[in-house]
């Protein structure tokens, strides 16, 4: 059994953040919070989130369980709540449904069978560069890049971070020096190319939720994007595989 009250904005963010990759997801409800880790069907993007119990009011979990959620369904259920409203979530094993209460309104959502949903492991990655950037600024650049190309190249070196997208005729560039970033840790130059359809969705989730976005980068290697909400009680991390560069 589990129950807890949480700000609609928080739970909506978690659901939206997962829904850009998959339609269904498995969430683990533990005594210290809710965890989710899912890979998209193409195995290109991964999300890993932690929703600590401190982000809830009256969080109570008697027994650790896993529930399978049809994200679209939960999304529509949450739509009626304004972002500051409190949402009460309740799950009882016997009933097999997730009860979502907003004010006096309740909706019971049928859950999915988790036995066929695979467990996902986070791959161990060596990502030498760490950049902390303004989410708004990065989102702006991604949006601009998206209008001319379907992939983007990210480059970091000791002094700066760079985003370059080349379309058929046009070029979009964003260059930020160390001073213009929140922080930059990078020993040697790294460069990777990423598919914009995934990257743009991921950055969109972060926008408006967190001022800072942490980027971990390698050389032709996956990228790690992470941000926090609710004073660090909600952590969302994305991994995205790079595009294979054409020879």
């Amino acid at each position: 059994m589990f129950q807890g009250k949480i700000k609609a904005n928080f739970i909506k963010t978690i659901i939206d953040a997962t829904a850009i990759l998959v339609d269904e997801a498995k969430f683990k409800i533990a005594d210290d919070g809710i965890y989710g880790r899912t890979v998209d069907p193409a195995h290109v993007g991964m999300i890993d989130f932690k929703l600590k119990k401190e982000a809830f009011d009256d969080y109570d979990c008697k027994e650790e369980t896993e529930i399978g959620i049809d994200l679209d369904k939960l999304k529509t259920a949450l739509k009626v709540a304004t972002s500051e409203e409190m949402v009460e979530l309740k799950y009882e094993k016997e009933e097999g449904r997730l009860k979502v209460s907003i004010g006096n309104l309740t909706r019971k959502i049928a859950l999915l069978d988790v036995t066929e949903m695979p467990d996902t492991k986070i791959p161990s990655l060596e990502l030498p560069a760490e950049i902390v950037i303004s989410t708004v600024e990065f989102h702006q650049a991604i949006k601009a890049a998206e209008s001319i190309s379907d992939h983007v190249t990210l480059i970091a070196d000791k002094e700066s971070f760079e985003l370059v997208a080349e379309g058929d005729t046009d070029i979009v560039e964003l260059r930020l020096s160390k001073e213009q970033l929140y922080s930059l840790k990078c020993e040697e130059r790294v460069k990777s190319m990423f598919p914009l359809d995934y990257l743009s969705d991921m950055v969109k989730v972060a926008r408006g939720k967190s001022e800072e976005l942490t980027i971990n980068l390698g050389n032709n290697y996956p990228i790690k994007l992470s941000f926090e909400m609710a004073g660090g009680y909600i952590k969302i991390m994305y991994l995205l595989a790079p595009r294979i560069e054409s020879e």
Partner: protein, 432 residues
């Protein structure tokens, strides 16, 4: 646990049969490893159960490739193929540096389901730009390369998987029995290998279905029957009727290789066994009858697009009709209607043929003649001489005659043959 899963070979060298096909596949995979494949995708085609999918998974395992699969239970229209296969094809893996094998199972029946014709084109598009190895799996090669799939012929390497030899199957079954600690009469294994006709999966399923004890004797052979096919639908039916939401039930139905007409009969037969509460049953039958209405429309309009509605109503609708939860084991039955129809098939066929012959003779449709059969039966019975002459004229055979006159058929048939002979001679005589 299902033995076909339990004993699914992990490495290509353990896959039985199809030596040549395996060599070809291995060669292609090595080309990928070295970076320059001549063809970026392969088509593995052949009968069910001969090791196509197993080989694809095994080769991925041998080379430590990650796997992205799209099988028939996914809704594979253009959009989804692009989102999954194409994304997987042009991007790296999350672990970095590893290769990713994209497997499209049952690629020859992608498109009918959603009435979407962009599926094949999306596959062609994906193969053109892919940076990762792709395997298409099909039962029917020609179904796959027809229409917009023609291009596939040029950009894929086709590898045929043939039926697996009896000897190899027997050896495999014997090994499984050893590992399971089952004592078995070799004759049983021979029979299983013979009747599976090169289909290893069904052979293993057969073996498992009779292996409930540690010793299998010759008598067990008689239990085989149609068991494997029935078992598949039993499992499917169980999952459909126990499903708690629409999608699970519908997806299960896709997985079953059963036409909506047949599925309807199965559900109809077994609903009352599964749903114990009267109100649940009433609601479920309401959905089932609506599904049947759609099946009727499919038939009348010859428009198979409506099958989708029928399937969703009879599976999803029925699944969500229940308000109570049912637990425990339920023994399902084979549809009585199908059984009796199968039994009467020959008889009905005979009657239809008779009506056709009669219709031609009396200038009406065979359907109308069908209705007149009792009248003709009376006519035939009333006068043997007339019956013989009519039989000769209509060219009825003995079985057809027996439908009309019963036991006297033999006699009358003989007489009719005599009459025919005479007539033939008369014709010849006239020519002279």
């Amino acid at each position: 646990m299902n033995w076909t899963e339990k004993y699914r070979p992990k490495s290509l060298k353990d896959v039985i049969g199809n030596k040549k096909a395996k060599e070809e596949l291995l060669k292609w995979a090595k080309e990928w490893e070295e970076g320059r494949p001549t063809k970026k995708a392969v088509i593995l085609y052949g009968k069910p159960g001969v090791g196509k999918t197993t080989s694809a998974y095994a080769i991925a395992n041998d080379f430590n490739w990650e796997i992205v699969e799209m099988n028939a239970s996914d809704e594979r229209n253009r959009e989804i193929i692009r989102r999954i296969a194409l994304s997987g094809a042009i991007n790296e893996t999350l672990t970095g540096g590893k290769k990713r094998l994209i497997i499209l199972d049952e690629a020859d029946n992608l498109y009918e389901k959603a009435g979407d014709y962009g599926g094949k084109r999306a596959i062609v598009e994906t193969i053109r730009v892919t940076k990762q190895p792709i395997v298409l799996i099909a039962n029917d090669y020609y179904e796959l390369i027809k229409g917009s799939g023609q291009e596939l012929k040029n950009i894929c390497k086709a590898i045929e998987f043939k039926k697996v030899g009896k000897k190899e199957i027997v050896a495999l079954l014997r090994k499984i029995c050893q590992l399971e600690g089952i004592e078995v009469d070799i004759e049983v294994l021979n029979t299983i290998a013979m009747r599976c006709d090169g289909d290893v999966r069904s052979a293993i399923n057969d073996l498992q279905s009779i292996a409930y004890e540690k010793k299998i004797t010759r008598d067990a052979i008689s239990h085989l029957g149609y068991r494997d096919r029935e078992r598949e639908i039993f499992i499917g039916l169980h999952r459909i009727l126990r499903a708690n939401d629409l999608r699970t039930a519908i997806r299960e139905a896709w997985r079953l290789d059963e036409s909506p007409d047949n599925l309807l009969l199965w559900i109809d037969e077994n609903l009352p066994i599964e749903y114990k509460h009267r109100d649940d049953l009433a609601r479920a039958y309401e959905y089932l009858s609506r599904a049947d209405v759609f099946l009727g429309r499919v038939w009348r309009r010859q428009y198979y697009g409506l099958w989708g509605y029928a399937t969703e109503l009879m599976t999803g609708g029925v699944a969500i009709a229940k308000k109570h939860e049912y637990r425990g084991f339920t023994a399902y039955h084979f549809p009585k209607w199908l059984r009796s129809m199968a039994r009467s098939k020959q008889y009905r066929h005979l009657r239809m043929n008779l009506a056709k012959k009669l219709g031609k003779f009396i200038h009406c449709s065979s359907k109308k003649a069908y209705e007149l059969l009792p009248m003709f039966a009376n006519l035939f019975k009333s006068n043997d001489d007339l019956a013989a002459r009519l039989a000769a004229k209509l060219d009825l055979n003995e079985e057809e005659l027996s439908l009309l006159v019963g036991e006297k058929a033999k006699e009358i048939y003989k007489e009719a043959q005599e009459l025919k002979k005479k007539e033939k001679q008369a014709v010849l005589f006239n020519f002279k």
